[in-house]
């Protein structure tokens, strides 16, 4: 069953075509990676799917519904969320509060109800807190829940972003270079973690430069070059694709 279907998607910035008529899809329970040299349009593609930017043409269908051009908060409420390559931690909040924001869509109580502690607010709060703790334990940050988020080391801030996004119980998570700045041990742990997402009901779209991890976790890989799709296939097919190899010429990637 297809959860995300992208067809003919394009985005231009002035004269530069960042994404050029790209087609691909993600099926439920799949881990799909998007790879390509720097400037291939990977982050722009993520911005289009998550609603951070609007497409110029083409369509993005999520569970059959067109989400291209929707604002990010509506897309998130539908169940699609993301992490950021350049970290976007809420630095003014604690670790667990960061993750509780991720669980925002699981609550219903509004401003006035919160202000007067209307019946049901307390139980909703403890539910959200429980979700956040579970998400923190998932990524191994449970013990740091009460620390200010900004004092976490870099690698753990990346994990915090993942926990925050997973607290939303997303159907689809977009991970933008989650392993950047992590050492080998941390990267391995991250790969194992991501591999478990489908069984939790979360399909994954991954942008990552660490090819070892991409090859280990992906069910399918889409290769972008200069905004266009160059190839698509299983990790094995991609490793043997001559066009991919020449696009990466000079780089020892596989």
């Amino acid at each position: 069953m297809i959860i995300l279907e992208v067809t003919g998607l394009s985005k231009h910035f002035g004269g530069v075509t960042a994404v050029n008529s790209v087609d691909f899809h993600v099926s439920r329970g799949e881990i799909v990676s998007i790879i390509g040299p720097n400037g291939a349009g990977k982050t722009t593609l993520f911005n289009l799917i998550s609603g951070v930017a609007g497409p110029d043409s083409g369509s993005i269908k999520y569970n059959g519904e067109e989400i291209g051009g929707m604002p990010p908060d509506r897309i998130a409420v539908l169940g699609v969320t993301r992490t950021f390559q350049n970290l976007q931690i809420f630095r003014n909040m604690t670790v667990v509060e960061n993750v509780m924001v991720g669980a925002h869509r699981l609550g219903r109580k509004g401003l006035l109800q919160a202000g007067v502690r209307w019946p049901g607010v307390a139980s909703e709060e403890s539910f959200i807190y429980g979700r956040a703790i579970a998400a923190l334990e998932l990524v191994g940050l449970g013990e740091k829940k009460d620390m200010p988020a900004e004092i976490l080391p870099y690698g753990e801030q990346r994990l915090l972003e993942i926990a925050r996004a997973m607290a939303l119980e997303p159907d689809l998570i977009l991970l933008d270079e989650p392993a950047a700045g992590m050492n080998q041990g941390e990267t391995n742990g991250l790969g194992e973690l991501i591999s478990r997402f489908p069984e939790m009901g979360t399909s994954v779209l991954l942008v990552e430069h660490n090819m070892e991890m991409v090859m280990a976790v992906s069910h399918r890989i889409v290769v972008l070059d200069h905004g266009s799709k160059l190839a698509e296939g299983t990790p094995l097919e991609i490793q043997q694709d001559s066009r991919v190899i020449s696009a990466y010429l000079g780089e020892e990637v596989f």
Binding site: S50, G51, V52, P71, P72, D73, R74, A76, V77, T81, R82, F84, Q88, I89, F90, R91, N92, M93, T94, E97, N98, M100, V101, G102, H104, R105, G107, K109, G110, L111, A114, G115, V116, R117, V121, E124, E125, I128, E143, K144, D146, M147, P148, E150, I151, P153, E156, R164, A165, L168
Partner: protein
């Protein structure tokens, strides 16, 4: 360890709160005369206003330089409804709050798409417009000379006519304002607002409707201002436009900044500091510099604001908290390194106190 730490913190907070209530309750009995009590009533009224402003500025990170206008709408709403239409003070206060909410909503939906300086200017402009309205609608508001004869606040015929009664009335509202704000800040909506302050992009990608919540908190803070304005009108029983102009807006921001923007108790401290200082300067400056004009205190406030921003950027509450944290030799660095798992040792020294709440 951490659990018990939190628990004792909670108990300490509870005790502090009880002490605060006790002081509040007995203060009027200790006051030598009603002059001081009157000042504490004003501190209470301004505190309600500034708590609302802190919700907007400190937590949601949105600037308003026109908030005195909402304070004025509350005052004029209450004054007009009670004097011209013979309403009871309490329904008049609620109606004024409702009108203010509507005005703030209209201003909010049209300005809150703007950011930072643009938003500051737009709110400043809206405030000026409302101020001009107070001045020019002479038939309705009495124009620059204002209007008098506003009755004392009363509920079901029980009049808050004396200084002591009004003191209890106002501080009851302050406690309500604090309770509501605290509940809000520690809720799903409050976290979403703080998240907007931290990273609007990330908050949106977590499903937080930024614009909607900004408008809501803007309206709420305007209602705080309106309630404060109503209490002011029934207290002084005479109003004119001058306390609701641009300078008042700036003074409220100053009080908020000095107290500490991202705090609930800070506003009370900030208001008390600024009002006390104003009184002191009024008494001192003419003695020290006989030729100084009335605007002299503004220069002092400018200097104080600069000093606070440099040395205590989180205001008095944040600054005091920091000193306290440093004296306790750093909660995070020490404790975590001792108890945390080995993998987590590589923490930066940090804990410069930005932790806060």
């Amino acid at each position: 360890m951490i659990q018990s730490g939190l628990l004792s913190k909670k108990v300490a907070r509870y005790l502090l709160f009880l002490i605060f209530i006790a002081i509040l309750g007995t203060l009027p009995l200790l006051m030598p005369n009603t002059y001081y009590l009157g000042n504490i009533v004003l501190i209470g009224i301004y505190s309600i206003m500034v708590i609302g402003l802190c919700l907007l500025m400190g937590y949601a990170g949105q600037v308003s330089l026109g908030h005195a206008a909402f304070y004025g709408l509350g005052a004029y709403g209450s004054g007009l409804l009670t004097v011209n239409w013979g309403w009871q003070p309490l329904p008049a206060m609620l109606a004024a709050a409702l009108i203010t909410a509507l005005v703030a909503f209209l201003i909010g939906i049209s300005t809150l798409k703007l950011k930072e300086h643009y938003l500051a200017l737009a709110t400043l402009g809206s405030g000026v417009i409302i101020y001009i309205f107070f001045n020019e609608q002479v038939n309705l508001t009495g124009g620059p000379s204002g209007f008098s004869g506003i009755p004392y606040f009363s509920i079901a015929g029980w009049e808050f006519g004396s200084e002591i009664r009004y003191y209890y009335l106002v501080w009851f509202f302050v406690l309500l304002a604090v309770a509501f704000a605290r509940n809000l800040v520690n809720s799903r909506i409050g976290r979403a607002l703080r998240a907007l302050h931290g990273s609007e992009l990330a908050a949106a990608c977590m499903g937080v409707p930024a614009y909607k919540y900004k408008v809501q908190i803007f309206v709420l803070s305007a209602v705080y201002g309106s309630i404060a304005g109503s209490l002011y009108a029934h207290y002084v029983t005479f109003i004119s436009p001058s306390p609701f102009g641009f300078q008042a807006s700036v003074e409220f921001v100053l009080m908020a900044a000095i107290g500490g923007l991202a705090s609930i108790w800070g506003p009370i401290l900030g208001v008390a500091a600024v009002l006390t200082l104003t009184e002191l300067l009024r008494a001192l400056v003419p003695v020290l510099i006989p030729t100084a004009g009335g605007e002299f205190e503004i220069i002092f406030f400018g200097l104080i604001l600069v000093a606070v921003m440099i040395f205590m950027p989180e205001g008095l509450t944040g600054g005091i908290k920091n000193r306290w944290a440093k004296r306790k030799s750093g909660y995070y660095s020490g404790k975590e390194q001792a108890e945390g798992p080995a993998r987590n040792v590589a923490l930066p020294p940090a804990a410069d106190g930005r932790a806060a709440e």
